[in-house]
């Protein structure tokens, strides 16, 4: 079973349908206890960093446990940003802190939010990017982006005024700033890779 963490931040329909499409067995989970039995965990997210963390806090322990036990995890959009220590969007709110570094605002002079299809530069090819080629386009909607202290966790970037972290890989954790569930066939390919990793 692949758990989609439902912490009350918006529409889970799209990610649910997309996982269904790649023959996963998704389940929307709103109690932290159920995460223990998940083969994979998806942390989606829309909205502001602080509000997300407030609502995600009751899952914090269960998510950390699953992460340390090696359960494959996929963070999407704000689900990537909450992995960091903090964000300029919500000063004073603490993130999960699994990835050292901060989330910062896109630079002045570019369209904010970045909204639309942008191409990936693959920095470090990882299993989750199998079948994805340099320059393939994905759908982004965001105003902030993660800057990890340890650059080696970055597996892909995109360019929007600056190089923007587009995907992060660390151990059993993969996270994307873009929305694979809204990125057509290439997005589904990433979800397929994730589902496959949960069965190994």
């Amino acid at each position: 079973m692949i758990a989609i963490v439902d912490y009350g931040m918006g529409n889970l329909f799209s990610i649910y349908n997309a996982l269904n499409r790649v023959s996963a067995n998704p389940k929307i989970i709103d109690d932290p206890e159920s995460l223990a039995s998940a083969d994979g965990i998806v942390v989606p997210g829309v909205g502001a960093f602080g509000r997300c963390m407030d609502r995600l806090s009751r899952f914090e322990g269960a998510l950390l446990q699953a992460f340390l036990e090696g359960t494959p995890m996929l963070g999407i959009c704000i689900g990537l940003q909450v992995l960091f220590e903090q964000s300029e969007e919500s000063p004073g709110s603490k993130g999960l802190g699994w990835i050292k570094g901060n989330v910062v605002r896109l630079p002045e002079g570019v369209m904010i939010p970045q909204m639309g299809w942008n191409s990936l530069s693959i920095i470090r090819p990882v299993e989750m990017l199998e079948g994805i080629a340099e320059g393939d386009m994905f759908y982004f909607v965001h105003s902030y982006y993660g800057v990890p202290t340890d650059k080696s966790v970055i597996s892909a970037t995109t360019h929007h005024g600056v190089d923007v972290t587009a995907a992060i890989a660390k151990d059993n954790l993969f996270a994307t700033q873009f929305h694979p569930e809204k990125s057509g066939v290439k997005g589904l390919k990433i979800l397929e890779n994730f589902v496959r990793s949960t069965r190994c």
Partner: protein, 270 residues
């Protein structure tokens, strides 16, 4: 760099079970094009970057039909879906978001009560609110209007509402700026003079609005060929081009159009 988007638009008549896609000419004569979720699926397969559904019946009783269309579509279409037509409150927007829509398009209701834009943006984010503007050329020099030069003569652009049936007296360029300041994430800009004519996009209109706002502008109305899309991308800063008839009835599909544009140097997703 962000790609220029190609967006098919499905004008939906929800007065029949399951709804049907229709297309009008200059907002009037109607032609039948297909079943909404089937057409959406085809356009997704062809490479659409996003799909817009507009409820042209825009009546409250038919919201349920639209919700059904979006639910069904989102099972098999994995690009952003924008939905509009008759949404007047955050509560009504919520029904459509919960069905799987990523963006809501507002037009008449926002002109009548501009705060609606902020209300939806506060709850769902700026990116979730598209303000649709139906603009009509007025060849008259009136005080306080933003006069734009066109090959046909100087004019200002008036916003229409109620699906083009009534006029507001509001300047479309000024309204686009106001919509942005209220939290709109995008402007869907339709030229009423060009819609359904197959004469190409209204370049002066698109250029004027795209220069005036920082948010993306989707050009709409009049597209009948890939050359029209090329023209709007080369001559204006439009972030996206929207079309209906060319895909419903024409010999072009989205894939061919994108290849055509890419070969001519436009950054599109193929």
């Amino acid at each position: 760099m962000l790609a220029r988007r190609i967006i098919p638009c499905l004008d939906c008549d929800l007065g029949v079970p399951g709804g049907r896609v229709v297309k009008g000419i200059e907002f009037k004569q109607i032609r039948y094009a297909g079943i909404p979720w089937e057409l959406a699926g085809k356009y997704y397969e062809d490479g659409a970057d996003e799909i817009v559904f507009l409820d042209i019946t825009a009546s409250h009783e038919r919201r349920e039909t639209m919700v059904g269309v979006i639910k069904k579509t989102s099972e098999s279409v994995f690009v952003p879906l924008a939905v509009g037509g008759g949404i007047k409150t955050v509560e009504e927007a919520r029904e459509v978001f919960n069905a799987g829509a990523d963006k809501i398009t507002v037009n008449t209701s926002a002109l009548k009560r501009p705060e609606l834009i902020s209300e939806i943006a506060d709850r769902y984010g700026n990116q979730a609110v598209v303000v649709a503007i139906d603009a009509k050329r007025r060849y008259a020099l009136e005080d306080g209007r933003q006069i734009i030069k066109t090959p046909q003569g100087p004019c200002w652009f008036e916003c229409s509402y109620y699906g083009g049936r009534e006029f507001t007296g509001i300047d479309a360029i000024a309204w686009a700026e106001k919509a942005q300041s209220l939290g709109a994430g995008e402007i869907l800009l339709t030229s009423m003079d060009r819609d359904g004519t197959y004469d190409g996009f209204d370049i002066p209109l698109t250029d004027a609005v795209a220069k005036r706002v920082r948010i993306p502008v989707i050009a709409s109305g009049g597209c009948a060929s890939p050359e029209h899309m090329l023209e709007v991308f080369q001559r204006t800063d439009a972030a996206a081009a929207l079309a209906a008839s060319i895909f419903h009835f024409g010999e072009w599909n989205i894939g061919n159009v994108k290849n055509f544009l890419k070969e001519r140097g436009v950054n599109v997703r193929v």
